[in-house]
């Protein structure tokens, strides 16, 4: 991906006398702030509506003003969703997400480390790198039919493993790109001193590079977890039975079944989003700064 590099003397303006400090102060950016606040309303209003409506009873839903909080809040909708086996679907989502994210991040880190450290000296690694870069440009959903065929031939159809293997593969290209960008920033001297101390690549990888790029690792982990947790196409095509359903698929089925009961449908939306919201609250700083840094380079 193309980059912006901010440093370097050729970028800075020729030296001039510094302006009087008063002149640099920012005037308010009216257009920008207006857009930002309007957009905030557009983002918040539907979310607010989802949350309050999920606590209304079905009969009150039609009677009350849509934007007023429920007069008699009820948990009945949530009970109904949980009784519709959502614990099982939650567990399926959890297993397939953790099962895919952990190997995806570890393998991507190893590959990114090798690609950066070889510095183009190894033809095999250069070739591997271009293959991953090509993977970024390809809409991987287009490969779903052969993946379906492979999963059938491996006798993995309708299992959580069927979701895990392609999810890892789909996560690798972007993860390698972002992680490699960050490993490149580790000062060369640190690698050199490790080598002088006689440490092998394995030791350098896990004892030096991994801890030093922890923020990037966390970013990539959260991002991939989000993608896999919310994935829809793979579960739709590669699983069949009810007890292998993941949350997005369960949502879709639940909505098809109870489309008239809007509060219950919205309760299912809230319930399936809560875990990822918790993850976001914990890793927010990492994710936001890591993503902007990763893509803005």
């Amino acid at each position: 991906m193309a980059t912006i590099l901010s440093t370097g003397p050729e970028r800075t303006a020729p030296p001039r006398p510094r302006p009087a400090s008063g002149r640099v102060t920012e005037r308010p950016n009216w257009l920008g702030s207006l857009t930002a606040w309007i957009w905030l309303a557009i983002v918040i209003v539907p979310i607010y509506w989802i949350v309050i409506t999920s606590f209304k009873t079905q009969s009150n839903y039609y009677a009350e003003h849509p934007f007023m909080p429920p007069a008699e809040p009820t948990l009945a909708n949530y009970r109904m969703v949980i009784e519709a086996d959502f614990a099982q679907y939650f567990l399926n989502s959890l297993i397939s997400t953790v099962g895919a994210v952990v190997p995806a991040v570890l393998f991507s880190f190893m590959a990114a480390y090798a690609i950066v450290r070889s510095g183009g000296a190894s033809r095999f690694l250069r070739w591997t790198n271009s293959l991953f870069l090509m993977g970024l440009a390809i809409p991987l959903q287009a490969t779903i039919i052969p993946i379906y065929l492979i999963i059938i031939r491996l006798h993995l159809y309708d299992s959580l493993m069927a979701l895990i293997l392609p999810s890892i593969a789909f996560a690798i290209p972007l993860s390698v790109l972002i992680l490699a960008n960050f490993i490149r920033d580790v000062p060369k001297e640190l690698f050199d001193s490790m080598r002088i101390d006689g440490a092998g690549e394995q030791v350098t990888l896990w004892r030096l590079a991994f801890p030093l790029t922890m923020p990037a690792v966390v970013t990539v982990t959260i991002y991939n977890a989000l993608m896999i947790w919310n994935g829809f196409l793979l579960p739709l095509v590669l699983t069949q039975s009810t007890d292998k359903r993941t949350l997005p698929l369960a949502l879709w089925n639940f909505q098809g079944q109870y489309s008239v009961n809007v509060p219950a449908v919205l309760a299912s939306v809230v319930l399936t989003t809560l875990p990822i919201l918790l993850l976001y609250v914990v890793g927010r700083r990492q994710l936001l700064s890591g993503l902007t840094a990763g893509f803005s380079r």
Binding site: I4, V43, I172, P248
Partner: protein, 301 residues
């Protein structure tokens, strides 16, 4: 995978142990990325119903697909979704990114809230908007607003507009954050120099901010454009391609032919077209941006 820890500082052994580190990732990517990619091309020359045996069928699927008026339509809808969602999202995200790059405290809070739609799954977002826009049970009748009480998903152009809106709702904040990162990397001194020359805010935006964001714009546009090819789940749950074929994009066309009509051959041909469109777009955007990243250092200096 035991690495030779001692001696041979620059020999082949060291390089060999490095190469081994890339093998697990490469193996998985080849098995479930590269082989399926080749497989989709091969399958487009076969006939298969998804269950039985696979037979070689030559150019049959391709002939059927290329003669089908559904293909130009799906291509057109895909292009429209891509172009319109790009045209809506890009100016809004640049504007918001520039704003968010400022330093006031509450902007950080805004950034946190903006990101929430991106956490929701496409299925959840689509289900929410389906309920919200329902002409009988949705927000419109609830508020007694005639303007909001329309058959949003039942009329072709309205349904198309809803798809664009929902896509923007979910992704503008993400791109705004990318632009925020880009704006923060523009050297302050450039603005100071422009201010000395008496440039106003608008002039500074068009003469400094926008040209300096060139590579960020290309990155963000690449993500938007290639990403728009994969809006499968959102459209599938929201409109299922309807009403009629109004929102039947390529990815949806592939799914419906393959997994609903059990015509894996023609569906694979559509998938090949999808891959080619994605590759062509990515190459085009790279050409526009210029290959060499170090290029950006010299421009606009």
């Amino acid at each position: 995978m035991s690495a030779p820890a001692t001696s041979v500082p620059r020999g082949s052994a060291r390089r060999g142990s490095l190469a081994w580190l890339a093998v697990p990732a490469l193996l998985l990517f080849v098995c479930f990325g590269v082989i399926p990619l080749a497989g989709v091309l091969l399958l487009s020359f076969t006939s298969w119903d998804g269950l039985g045996d696979i037979h070689f069928a030559g150019l049959e699927s391709w002939q059927a697909i290329l003669a089908d008026p559904g293909l130009p339509h799906a291509l057109w809808v895909t292009f429209l979704v891509m172009a319109v969602s790009w045209a809506v999202q890009t100016p809004a995200s640049i504007l918001m990114g520039v704003f968010l790059a400022g330093s006031q405290r509450y902007r950080a809070v805004l950034a946190v809230l903006y990101f929430v739609p991106l956490l929701l799954s496409h299925a959840a977002v689509a289900i929410t908007y389906k309920a919200l826009l329902d002409p009988n049970f949705g927000l419109g009748p609830g508020l007694n607003l005639a303007l909001l009480t329309q058959d949003w998903l039942g009329r072709p152009w309205l349904a198309f507009g809803v798809v664009i809106f929902v896509v923007s709702w979910q992704f503008i904040p993400f791109h705004a954050l990318i632009y925020q990162g880009g704006v923060r990397q523009i050297p302050r001194s450039m603005y100071e120099a422009a201010e000395l020359d008496g440039a106003g805010r608008v002039r500074k935006f068009f003469s400094i901010t926008l040209p300096q964001l060139k590579y960020t714009i290309i990155t963000s546009s690449t993500l938007m454009v290639v990403g728009s090819l994969t809006f499968f789940d959102l459209i599938f749950v929201l409109t299922a391609g309807g009403p009629g074929d109004a929102t039947r994009v390529l990815a949806l066309d592939m799914y419906k032919r393959g997994f609903q009509a059990n015509l894996m051959g023609p569906a694979s041909a559509i998938a090949v077209i999808l891959v080619l469109v994605g590759l062509a777009l990515a190459l085009l955007l790279r050409r526009v941006g210029g290959r060499d990243a170090s290029h950006s250092q010299l421009e606009g200096a």
